[in-house]
Structures are given as structure tokens and as C-alpha cells.
């Protein structure tokens, strides 16, 4: 069991979208880790799967056997929100709203999403939305009502390019963008699958390269790590699994998300190769 520290809840609940444009960059992994991290700190948190038709968050959260009703059932009036929310067994502050495995993106409507989010705002401090890949309907609905965005990016050209597109959408096609009186969405970049060795060898762009291009603040850097695979195998958000540098990096990102100042550390979970150990080189 993980200890839970109680902290002052935010005055107003916040909707945070985890988005990226590109698929497979680590959105769902990050949504699971960030929501568990927020709940660990005492915030009432719910994480919603917006990837209609490709339900995966439930597996990463380890609650796939308990899904009865989903987000779409709630939107279509077939179930009450309370019935569709799955309470996490490890953290009492954490709930999961799974998506449908059988419908398509068109089952989501803007009005339906808004209604569910408003109802969740009454109960939760943080509402974390796991966006599908792409920049179409599903992804746009996941970001539309967001107060903040975590743009998940890998240090690789197509991922950075897609993140740039997504930043454009965040500042034009969202409720906050359309309301002249509202503050724009606060967007931050989360660099994931960061591979120190490949960056040292010049194969991959550095954090600075990526930030210079995207021009948004950095929420954190998550190393490429086998701890992520192990955590997903067992259905455990990585911050609740055995300690690893990836888990510590997510915990730091959560601290920054709630406004704490935490120094950026960049430790990899990779063991140095025999060659590096023999010659004392650290990549």
C-alpha cells in the first residue's frame, strides 16, 4: 500500500488533457502515472479514456476485469456516471472512467463530454483525459474542455512535429481558445522515452533541442525504461510499482504539475554496458 499525504486541494477542479498527435509516444502510460501520482498526494483524481474503440487505459490501470459500463454508456444515458466509475483498489482517491471497446469515435459528442466533465468537476480535484492519437474528432474532444495540457513528445522528428500541430490546436480549437475572456490552456511538454545513450551519441535530439522548437515549458523528462513494460504487464501505474528512475521522473513531473519547484534530473534506467563499466564511461 502506498502512503497518502493529504494536501490542500486546488480551489477549482482542473481538467488536464494528455495529448500528443502521434501514437505510441506514451500518452496512456503518462495518464496512468500522473493520475496515480496526483491521487497519491491526496487529490481526488479521475482518469478518463478518450480512445473510443481502442480501450487500453483499463489494462494499464489493472482494472480491465471490472469494467461494466463505460464513458459512452454514460453519454448515451444507458448508465449513471457513478456506475461507470471504477474505484482504484490501491488508492482510494483514484477512479477510472473506461471507454467503449466496441463503438467508434462518433459516439462521443461535445455536449455529452461537457456534461460528464461538469459532473466530475463536482467531485474531483483533477480530471485527467487520456487522448487518442491523431488530431481528429476524438483527440479534439479530449482537449476541448481542458484547463491544462501535457503534450507528450519523444525526441524524434515526427513526434516533435505532431506535438507542434497539437499545440496549435490547443491554442485555437478549444473552449478556452474560443472564449476571449478565458486564460489560454496552460500547455507543458513531457519528454518521454528519453534515451541518454542515444542522445549522447548524437542519434537523438536533446531536451534543449526539443524545447527550443516547441517553445513551451518542460514538465519533465521520462527515461526509456524497462520499468514501464513491467508496470504495464502487471497493470500497475509505474509510480505505484517498484522504485525506478522512470517512476521518480513521473513523480517529479506530478510535483511540477501541482506547482512545486523541482530540479530536473535525468537519470536513465539503463544499466551501463560492460564496455562502459570496464572503461568507466558514462553515457
Amino acid at each position: 500500500m502506498t502512503s497518502q499525504m493529504k494536501q490542500e486541494p486546488p480551489v477549482q477542479s482542473k481538467v488536464i488533457v494528455i495529448t500528443s498527435g502521434k501514437g505510441g509516444v506514451g500518452k496512456t502510460t503518462s495518464a496512468a502515472a500522473i493520475s496515480a501520482g496526483l491521487a497519491q498526494r491526496g487529490y481526488k483524481t479521475v482518469v478518463i479514456d478518450f480512445d473510443v474503440g481502442l480501450r487500453n487505459l483499463d489494462m494499464i490501470m489493472g482494472c480491465e476485469r471490472r469494467v461494466v459500463f463505460d464513458f459512452i454508456n454514460v453519454i448515451q444515458g444507458d448508465a449513471r456516471l457513478k456506475q461507470a466509475l471504477i474505484k482504484d483498489k490501491r488508492l482510494e482517491n483514484l477512479s477510472i472512467l473506461p471507454t467503449s471497446q466496441t463503438r467508434d469515435k462518433d459516439a462521443l459528442t461535445k455536449e455529452g463530454v461537457e456534461k460528464v466533465l461538469n459532473e466530475l468537476r463536482e467531485e474531483f480535484d483533477y480530471i485527467v483525459c487520456d487522448s487518442p492519437a491523431g488530431i481528429e474528432r476524438g483527440a479534439q474532444l479530449a482537449m476541448y474542455f481542458a484547463d491544462e495540457a501535457v503534450v507528450v513528445t519523444n525526441p524524434e522528428v515526427s513526434s516533435v512535429r505532431d506535438s507542434d500541430r497539437v499545440l496549435g490546436l490547443l491554442s485555437s480549437k478549444t473552449a478556452r481558445a474560443e472564449n476571449a475572456d478565458a486564460e489560454p490552456i496552460k500547455a507543458q511538454a513531457l519528454l518521454t522515452r528519453y534515451d541518454n545513450q542515444r542522445i549522447a551519441s548524437g542519434e537523438m535530439m536533446t531536451v534543449d533541442d526539443v524545447l527550443e522548437i516547441l517553445a513551451v515549458p518542460l514538465l519533465g523528462v521520462i527515461p526509456e525504461s524497462t520499468a514501464i513494460l513491467r508496470a504495464s504487464n502487471t497493470g500497475t501505474p509505474v509510480v505505484l510499482d517498484e522504485p525506478s528512475n522512470a517512476s521518480a521522473a513521473y513523480a517529479d513531473a506530478v510535483s511540477r504539475l501541482i506547482g512545486e519547484q523541482v530540479e530536473m534530473r535525468m537519470e536513465s534506467d539503463r544499466r551501463p554496458s560492460l564496455f562502459q563499466r570496464l572503461f568507466g564511461r558514462t553515457a
Binding site: E64, R65, V68, F69, A79, Q83, N233, T234
Partner: protein, 88 residues
């Protein structure tokens, strides 16, 4: 003989085994025709309708839980109603 294996060969890592088991259970349920997409909402409606013929209950007072297992799954339905409710 010289061997390349200096340590005993590792058995399959534990977490991969867990992943396999979880997927097998889940996919078996997803593939079985009996649990079609809207089977649960429909079941809920039918159960509610049946109960409402006998007693007055609030739709909100129904709590449905599921636990899918490899041999057995359980569907738990909890209905709250006032203690001293007269039958209709």
C-alpha cells in the same frame, strides 16, 4: 566442454507471465459472443424493470459490479431500498 551459459537460464520473467494471464482472461471475454457490447446496459434495464414491478426503487440505488475471472466471473448487483418498504 565450454559452455556459453555461465548462469542458469532465466525462467520467463514474472511480469510477462502476469501479462499473458491477464490478456487471456480479458480476450476470452471479449471474444465470447454472449457478452456483446450492450449486453450489460440491457441486462440492467431488464433487471430494473423486473424489480420495479414489485417494489419502488430509485435508478440511482442500483450498483452493478463485475469481476471477470478465468474460470468464473461474478456479477454483483446491489439494490438499496428503504428498510420498511411495503411490498406493492
Amino acid at each position: 566442454m565450454f559452455g556459453f551459459s555461465l548462469r542458469p537460464r532465466k525462467t520467463a520473467p514474472k511480469s510477462a507471465q502476469t501479462a499473458r494471464d491477464r490478456l487471456q482472461i480479458l480476450l476470452a471475454h471479449e471474444r465470447s459472443s454472449g457478452s456483446g457490447p450492450d449486453c450489460l446496459p440491457e441486462l440492467q434495464r431488464d433487471i430494473l424493470a423486473a424489480i420495479k414491478r414489485h417494489m419502488k426503487i430509485d435508478t440511482d440505488a442500483v450498483d452493478i459490479r463485475m469481476d471477470r475471472g478465468d474460470e468464473l466471473s461474478s456479477l454483483e448487483i446491489n439494490i438499496e431500498f428503504p428498510a420498511s418498504q411495503p411490498a406493492r
